[in-house]
C-alpha cells in the first residue's frame, strides 16, 4: 500500500496497534476497563466500515444501518433464548437473516434516490425497531439477556475466555477492513465508484448499476450484522436500543468524522467518537450539549474528516 507515508496512515497504525496491545497494556496501567471500551470501539468500527462501503464508495446514505446490528444481535439472542447455543447454527442463521433482510430492504429502497433513500432506509429500520419493542416474549423495551455466549464446541476456542473474545473481534475488524479494501479495488468496486459519480454514464456503458448497488447493500448489511452478533456475544445482552435510529446517525457520524471514502477512516472515526464520548461523559452527564455542536462544527468545517485533514491534498484519492 502506497498510502503508508502520510500522517493519516500513521494514525491508523497507532489505532490498530493500540487495539492489538490494549488487553495487556490496560491492566498494566491499572485501567482494565479500557479493554471493554476498546472491544466496543472495534465492534462499532466494523459496523462503520460496512456503512462506509455503501455510503462512502457507493453514495448510498443509509440512515438505518444500525438495524443490521439489531438483526444480527437479536438472532443470537432469540436462538439462545430457545436453547440453541451452538455457534455453528447461530452464526450462519444470523448472517442469513441479515442477508435476507438487507436484500429485501435494498430492493425496495434502491428504487429511490437522494433524500427518499435516506428516509426509506430510516423508516424500514424503525419498522424492525418497533417490531422488537412489541416482541414481549423477547423482553420488549427491556431487552433480552443472553445467558451463554455462542458455543463453538472447541476447547481451544471459547468465547467465554476474555482474550479469545477480544481477539475474535480484533480479527473480524481486520478482516472487514481487508475485505472492503479488496472490494474497492476490484472491478466491482470500480463500477460502484463510477456509479456514484455518474450513474447514467455507467448504465450507458451497459452495466446494470442497480444490481451492483444491491449486492453492495447486502454485503454491507451482512458485515454490520456480524458486528451485531459480536456485540450480542460481547455484552451478553440485546435491546431495541441497539438499532434505534440515533445509533444509525452515530454510525454515519463515525464514518464522516474519520473520513468518508477512505479505507481506515471509519475505524479512526469510531475510535475518536467513542473515546470522546467516554471522556466527555466523565466530565458531565450533559455531554450531549457539547457533542451536538461539535458534530455540527465537524460537518460545517471539516468535510474530509480526520483522514482528510491529515492527508496532503496532492495524494488524495478523489
Amino acid at each position: 500500500m502506497a498510502e503508508l507515508k502520510n500522517p493519516a496512515s500513521i494514525l491508523t497504525l497507532i489505532v490498530i496497534g493500540l487495539c492489538a496491545v490494549v488487553p495487556f497494556l490496560a491492566p498494566a496501567l491499572g485501567e482494565p476497563f479500557y479493554v471493554i471500551v476498546f472491544a466496543r470501539i472495534m465492534i462499532w468500527a466494523i459496523a462503520a466500515v460496512s456503512l462506509n462501503l455503501i455510503m462512502g464508495y457507493g453514495g448510498m446514505i443509509s440512515f438505518g444501518h444500525a438495524v443490521y446490528l439489531g438483526i444480527g444481535g437479536y438472532t443470537i439472542g432469540i436462538l439462545a433464548f430457545h436453547g440453541i447455543t451452538s455457534a455453528w447454527i447461530q452464526w450462519p442463521v444470523a448472517i442469513g437473516a441479515c442477508a435476507f433482510i438487507s436484500l429485501i430492504f435494498g430492493a425496495i429502497s434502491l428504487r429511490t434516490r437522494g433524500v427518499y433513500f435516506i428516509m426509506i432506509t430510516l423508516a424500514l429500520a424503525q419498522m424492525i425497531f418497533f417490531l422488537s419493542v412489541s416482541a414481549e416474549r423477547y423482553g420488549s423495551d427491556d431487552g433480552l439477556n443472553i445467558l451463554t455466549r455462542s458455543d463453538f464446541g472447541l476447547s481451544f476456542f471459547d468465547l467465554n475466555d476474555k482474550l479469545t473474545m477480544y481477539y475474535t473481534i480484533f480479527a473480524v475488524l481486520l478482516a472487514s477492513v481487508f475485505i472492503s479494501w479488496k472490494l474497492i479495488h476490484s472491478r466491482f468496486g470500480v463500477v460502484m465508484r463510477a456509479a456514484k459519480s455518474n450513474d447514467t454514464r455507467v448504465q450507458a456503458v451497459g452495466v446494470s448499476t442497480y444490481r451492483y448497488r444491491l449486492i453492495a447493500f447486502v454485503i454491507a448489511g451482512v458485515m454490520c450484522g456480524i458486528a451485531g452478533l459480536l456485540q450480542a456475544n460481547f455484552e451478553r445482552f440485546v435491546s431495541p436500543d441497539m438499532m434505534n435510529w440515533p445509533r444509525s446517525g452515530e454510525l454515519i457520524f463515525m464514518v464522516v468524522l474519520g473520513g468518508m471514502s477512505t479505507i481506515f477512516g471509519p475505524v479512526t472515526g469510531a475510535f475518536v467518537f467513542l473515546m470522546l464520548s467516554e471522556i466527555l461523559s466523565t466530565w458531565t452527564i450533559h455531554w450531549h450539549i457539547i457533542f451536538g455542536p461539535f458534530l455540527v462544527l465537524v460537518v460545517l468545517f471539516a468535510r474530509g474528516g480526520i483522514h482528510g485533514l491529515l492527508t496532503p491534498r496532492a495524494s488524495r484519492d478523489e
Binding site: 428504487r111 435516506i118 426509506i120 423508516a123 418497533f130 412489541s134 455542536p293 455540527v296
Partner: protein
C-alpha cells in the same frame, strides 16, 4: 363488530393524522423549497411543547400559551435557520442529516438542563375538559378541538400558499430558486420566513398534544419519523399530498393497533393472532409506504414541476 369503538378509533386516527400533518407540512415545505433535510424539525415540536406549556402553566391559561408560543417559535425557527441551517443549503443531503442530528442532540440536552429530565405536565383548561355526545358516541371535547384547529390551519396554509403574494414567492422560490432571486425576490429572507412558519406549525403540533401526553424530552422524534413516512407517501414538496397522506397514515396506524388482532382472529388461531397482532400493526404503515414506493417511487402526489 362494535361500531361505537370503530368510530371512536377512526376519530382518534384522524386526530393523529392532523398532528402528523402539522409536522409534515413544515417538513415538506422546507424540503420542497430549500432542498434541506431537517431532522431538527422534531426538536421544534418538542420546544413548542415545552415553551408553550411553560407559558400556559405560568399564566394559568392554555390559550395564552398557544398564542405566545407562535411568535416564540417563529423567532427560534428563524434564529436556528440563520445561525446554522443557512450554511447548509449548498451542501449535500448527508451534511444536512448530520448537522441537524447534532442539533437534535443539542436541543434534547438543553431541554433536559432547563426543564429537568421528568418533562412537563400541562393541564387542560376546564372549558375544554369534558366530552360531548356525537350521535351514539361520546367523544372528548379537546380531541375535537385538535381536529378543528388542524383543519383550520390546513385551510389557512392552503390559502397562504396558493392565494397570497408571499405564497406566490414561496412557490416561485420552490420551482426555480435562481430565477426568482434574479427577479428581485429576497431568497434568504424568504427561506427564513418559511423555516419560521414550519417551526410554528411543528411547535403548535407539539403544544396541542401536550395536555394529552405531557411534554417529554425526545417527544418529537417518533413523530418526525412518522412525518417522514407521510411525506414520502404524499410526495415531497406537496402540501396536498402531505395532508392526504397524514390522514391516511394516522387512521391506518390507529385502527390497525386496535382492530388488527380482532381481524387476524378470523383466520388465525387465538394465540398466534394475539402475538402477531401488535407486531404487525406497528409495521403496517411502513409496509404501506414500501408498497406505495414500489409502484410510485415519487409518492402519490409529486408536486408539479419538481424533477
Amino acid at each position: 363488530m362494535d361500531y361505537v369503538l370503530l368510530i371512536e378509533q377512526f376519530l382518534n386516527g384522524f386526530q393523529l393524522g392532523i398532528i402528523l400533518f402539522l409536522m409534515a407540512a413544515g417538513l415538506t415545505l422546507v424540503f420542497g423549497i430549500m432542498d434541506l433535510v431537517n431532522l431538527a424539525h422534531g426538536s421544534m415540536f418538542m420546544i413548542g411543547a415545552f415553551v408553550g406549556g411553560t407559558i400556559a402553566v405560568v399564566t394559568g391559561s392554555f390559550v395564552i400559551g398557544v398564542i405566545l408560543m407562535i411568535p416564540a417559535m417563529l423567532i427560534i425557527g428563524i434564529v436556528v435557520e440563520m445561525t446554522t441551517l443557512r450554511t447548509l443549503y449548498p451542501r449535500d443531503h448527508l451534511d444536512h442529516v448530520l448537522a441537524t442530528f447534532g442539533l437534535i442532540l443539542f436541543f434534547n440536552e438543553a431541554t433536559r438542563l432547563i426543564w429537568g429530565p421528568e418533562g412537563l405536565i400541562v393541564p387542560l383548561p376546564a372549558f375544554l375538559d369534558g366530552s360531548v355526545a356525537l350521535g351514539a358516541i361520546t367523544y372528548p371535547v379537546y380531541r375535537i378541538v385538535i381536529i378543528v384547529v388542524g383543519l383550520l390551519v390546513a385551510l389557512g396554509l392552503y390559502i397562504l400558499v396558493s392565494r397570497t403574494r408571499i405564497g406566490m414567492l414561496i412557490r416561485a422560490g420552490a420551482s426555480n430558486r435562481a430565477m426568482a432571486g434574479a427577479l428581485g425576490v429576497n431568497i434568504p429572507l424568504l427561506f427564513s420566513i418559511v423555516f419560521g412558519i414550519g417551526a410554528v406549525l411543528a411547535g403548535l403540533a407539539g403544544l396541542i398534544i401536550t395536555p394529552i401526553t405531557a411534554a417529554q424530552i425526545g417527544m418529537g422524534e417518533d413523530v418526525l419519523i412518522l412525518a417522514f413516512v407521510v411525506i414520502v407517501i404524499g410526495g415531497i414538496g406537496s402540501i396536498r399530498g402531505a395532508f392526504i397522506a397524514s390522514i391516511v397514515t394516522g387512521v391506518i396506524d390507529t385502527m390497525g393497533r386496535s382492530f388488527l388482532d380482532v381481524f387476524l382472529l378470523l383466520f388465525l388461531p387465538e394465540n398466534a393472532a394475539e402475538s402477531a397482532g401488535p407486531a404487525l400493526s406497528s409495521m403496517m404503515i411502513y409496509i404501506l409506504m414500501a408498497a406505495i414506493l414500489f409502484f410510485r417511487p415519487q409518492g402519490l402526489f409529486p408536486p408539479k414541476g419538481a424533477g
